[in-house]
């Protein structure tokens, strides 16, 4: 069973991912001892996505074996998973040719939100909780959607 709504939050983890093998990876314990915060800018995006993630989980909690809304957070460097996932969502939910191409070819800035194969974030307003919730509700209840009033990222 597939979820009715598939949400992909695309943002980097505040750490290094590839290229160093295991020796010399800039992550975890080592960063805790750091006098400066090397990934401060990534951390900001990560926190914003985290708030969005919590908001989605709170508003659309899992019930039953198949969640109605599945939220996946992916690091864009993890292309081994991300690229096929985006293509799969485009094929499954068919958001239209233009939107589908935009998603499949990753024509979006980071951080990004993709709902049912459609990019809903934009460069100027990457993570608007109100907009994202509205989109999810629209997919769950086509025609009867009502945006959640007063929702903000700090919820």
């Amino acid at each position: 069973m597939q979820p009715e709504v598939s949400v992909i939050l695309i943002r980097e983890n505040a750490e290094q991912l590839s290229g160093s093998g295991c020796c010399g990876k800039l992550e975890g314990d080592a960063l805790r001892a750091a006098s400066d915060e090397p990934f401060a800018h990534t951390r900001a995006d990560q926190s914003a996505c985290g708030r969005l993630h919590r908001l989605l989980r709170k508003n659309f909690p899992d019930s039953g074996t198949t969640p109605r809304v599945r939220v996946v957070t992916v690091d864009p460097r993890n292309q081994l998973y991300l690229a096929p996932k985006l293509w799969r969502d485009v094929c499954r939910y068919r958001p239209g040719i233009r939107e589908g191409l935009k998603t499949a070819l990753q024509l979006f800035a980071l951080p990004a939100v993709v709902i049912n194969g459609r990019v809903v974030s934009s460069r100027k307003r990457p993570l608007s909780p109100h907009h994202v919730l509205h989109e999810v509700e629209r997919h769950l209840r086509p025609g009867t959607h009502k945006p959640s009033p007063g929702t903000n990222a700090s919820s």
Binding site: Q16, G19, L26, S35, P38, F39, T73, R77, L80, A109
Partner: protein, 638 residues
Amino acid sequence: MLDNSVTITLVAFAALAAAYVGYGRFLARHIFRLDPRRATPAHRFEDGVDYLPTRVPVLFGHHFASIAGLGPILGPAIAVIWGWLPAVLWVVVGSIVIGAVHDLGALSVSLRYQGRSIGDVARELIGPRARFLFLLIIFFLMSLAMGVFVLVISQLFVSFYPNAIVPSIGLMIVAMAMGVAVYKLRMPLGPLSIVGVAFLFLLIHLGVKNPLPTYTWGMDAEARAALDAARQQGQLPDPYGAVAVAAALEQSGNAHAAQSVSAAASTTTKTWSYLLLGYAFLASVLPVWLLLQPRDYLNSYQLYAGLVLLLVGLLVLHPTVAAPPVADAEAIGAPPMFPFLFITIACGAISGFHSLVSSGTTVRQLNRETDALPIGYGAMLTEGALAVLVIMACVAGLGGAAWTSGGTYTHWSNLDGRLSTQLAAVVEGGGRFLSALGVQPHYGEAFIAVAIVAFALTTLDSATRLLRYNVEEIFKSMGLGVLANRFVASLVAVAGIGFFALLRVYDAASGAYKPAGLLLWQMFGTTNQLLAGLTLLCVSLFLFKLARPVWYTIVPMFAMLGISLLAMLINLSELWGAEVRNWPLIVVNVVVMAMTLWMVGEAVASFARGRGNLGLPETEPAHADHELEEAVATSHLG
């Protein structure tokens, strides 16, 4: 059958797969008792930031990219000199019964400690001294590894692949441009990645067409004129690496030019080493978004493309294995296979550093406890598979020349302790695999050489920064907080790396001083095994205190510590008995041995304290209905 590289590879892969479904599941069910119903830290503290329930396919990609790198390439490329069979057997068996157990154990224990790092867990289980020991081991480990990498990159540039210089430096510029575009201008990721990869291939093309033999800059005018003339007449082998050029000039009777090339190569290699140390310092203080992070994207494409191309190339080419199954170590002048093979291949069979990755980020993203099996155990086996591919590139891809009289692998002295010779073997062997797919040999080799250099440079960049943090923490714990600032700590870090990179050892055979490359790699191997031993000790203690069987972790622990100690003792006796004693190496060897013995002492004391006192944030749930729990766990483990 014993000379069919595809059969050997497939049998090795099958063994790894069988171990996953057999031994891996056994450990997960009966030893670590992973329970899918028990909430993981990702669920308990879910914040969408650090603690984030993540599905296996997502997390596997993340974790594998985090552990795979240059380590599983260099070690196997050296170790095949003892024959392909022991190398493959150690990679396969070592991964199954030690490396993957270590990774799974670190992940499982960290899960129970709410996602805390293995260093923290060590402090809890063993004592506060264990944390300091961790810091010391890591300092030595990274200084050694980075010293080796500086040496290897500079030698690759000068002695073997001058065609990798333009793409490697160009790639840094491309990465910086990408960094500005992604992080500052917020441009779309897809097209930028395509442009980045396109530039990568363009740079490789430029490099192949315009190799940069930098050693010629240090040659006298007469020798350079002779070299240019020979080059125009097509007498010198492309891409004009100093080793091949000197050999070709020697053969053509131009001894003066050959000597001049060798002398200039030595000086230029040293110059490159200083430049790379300068790069390490600069890169470690630059903002990460400018170079490190964007290069991450390009590296990940290179990693996956390299893996797929090597595998497909091997299957298409299916070359015959030219190496002997087992070589006579004495006859080829190599040190004894036991214990040296087991420390030469560290990553690829077991790596202590994996515990830091496993217990750092990955553990906080596990959706279910049982996911630790594919992530911890499975990813390590996949790294073992990568090491098998590297072995095949050397023993089959290189062809017979490397294994017949005068070839690279026919005598230990041919490896020359430089390590770049071995990497060049991987590059050449891998290039042949790629040529089976229609890629021209020069381009295939350049692609692999550039990927290796890019990995090494990234490691140098991030490890210097890590060393800086490590030094800062060591200064603080010694009450020298005033020295714990960015620039002083970076200088100390670079000095540590430079110490090993520029270290020379006296070679009795030639009566000259040579880089300590191979010796350093062995010391890196022993230190890495030491870190793995410390992690296995934590895991064993954890199991012991829960009254569970400890043999599956404690036997690998003693095996690794025993092998490391034996190797260090042999090295020490050789260093001590040498015509010219190398005191810096003797001191480092003694310090590493002392750390090992310290660790064994801590282990004995911890076990003597008896069971209980786990210091768990929450106690292990009582297994009232043990059979039912096992059944549930079993069903989720497939």
